[in-house]
């Protein structure tokens, strides 16, 4: 009988643990919220495979550089609209210690390749087919763009629609000052 009680307690503890773990995962959504409220928060872990070559991109390895993290997909209209501005900004800031990263989410690899070719994308693209990073960053739609400063912190602004060149330059300047 004591064994049964212990088993029941273990099951309840395991379920509570699962609940806490799930809440901790969902907690990432606060990154976007906090940044929108003007706060500076540590960037969530982001390690994803490159779209066009072997190996993975690790955001943590970019300390000392400003990183523009853009979530996109080939089927997203806003992503097509902002492609020109992103490309121009990436080319302009490339030699000034700024890294542009495109995170292709919920997308076919072949469709993403066509998008990259059509828009002559000039920066690093990584793949997140299942969209596993969206929750951690608090991404609720596509496209969305975040700015990570040299210390690995996400700083305002957070662009919630197709980014313009002005928004990108402003975000980069603020990240560089942070």
């Amino acid at each position: 009988m004591r064994l049964l009680r212990l088993l029941a307690v273990a099951v309840v503890v395991a379920l509570l643990g699962l609940l806490v773990w799930d809440m901790a995962q969902a907690d990432g959504s606060k990154v976007a919220k906090k940044v929108d409220q003007g706060q500076v928060v540590a960037a969530p872990k982001l390690v994803l495979p490159y779209h066009d070559r072997d190996g993975s991109f690790d955001l943590a390895a970019q300390r000392g550089k400003v990183v523009v993290v853009n979530f996109w997909a080939s089927w997203c209209q806003g992503c097509k609209k902002e492609a020109g501005a992103l490309n121009a900004a990436a080319r302009y800031w490339r030699d000034k210690g700024v890294v542009f990263l495109g995170v292709d989410v919920n997308d076919f690899r072949s469709a993403a390749s066509r998008f990259v070719d059509r828009h002559d994308v000039a920066y690093t693209i990584v793949r997140d087919g299942p969209g596993s990073t969206l929750g951690k960053w608090g991404v609720t739609g596509l496209p969305e763009t975040f700015f990570v400063d040299r210390k690995g912190r996400v700083v305002p602004p957070h662009v919630l629609a197709a980014a313009t060149r002005e928004q990108l330059d402003e975000g980069i300047r603020r990240a560089r000052r942070s």
């Binding site: 089927w75 919920n106 997308d107 076919f108 469709a111 299942p130």
Partner: protein
């Protein structure tokens, strides 16, 4: 005994044949009902999201090429992860999704059976204990007094 074995083999074949046929010649409808759109998390047949439309087109293309159901599912899992499967697979780690609920039901049934057994056993013992005094012979002195009281009552 041989008849039972033959019947079991026939039953197994009857159950497996539609599954095999479905794997070799999947239909657009069944795949759309079993696969989930990664952006809206509903099955493809209920979704009109851009990526769901692309997935439907890809399924149509692969069926036309003669791909099996498991090939198409695996290709979509490679692109979007295992969450595109509406139901978990029945092998590897995913088997846990089937085994755990069934195991839970089994443990609960075993617990209920054990509880019922203990309860009925306790009741049997209780009945035996409650019957015990009436079955035992009365003390002679008490027996005499009961007789006296009854005689007085009759009078």
């Amino acid at each position: 005994m041989r008849l039972v074995a033959v019947a079991a083999a026939v039953a197994l074949f009857a159950a497996a044949a539609p599954a095999l046929a479905s794997d070799r010649h999947p239909t657009q409808g069944e795949l759309e009902r079993e696969l989930v759109c990664p952006t809206c998390h509903t099955t493809l047949d209920e979704s009109d999201a851009p990526i769901a439309r692309q997935m439907k087109a890809e399924i149509r293309r692969r069926i036309a090429q003669g791909a099996t159901k498991s090939q198409i599912e695996q290709e979509l899992v490679d692109e979007f992860g295992p969450s595109v499967l509406g139901v978990p697979r029945k092998h590897g780690f995913d088997l846990l999704a089937w085994a755990l609920p069934l195991g839970g039901v089994g443990v609960a049934a075993a617990g209920l059976a054990f509880g019922a057994w203990r309860w009925s056993r306790a009741r049997d013992v209780g009945d035996t204990v409650s019957q015990a005094p009436s079955a035992a012979p009365l003390d002679p002195e008490l027996d005499r007094r009961v007789d006296e009281e009854l005689a007085r009552f009759d009078a």
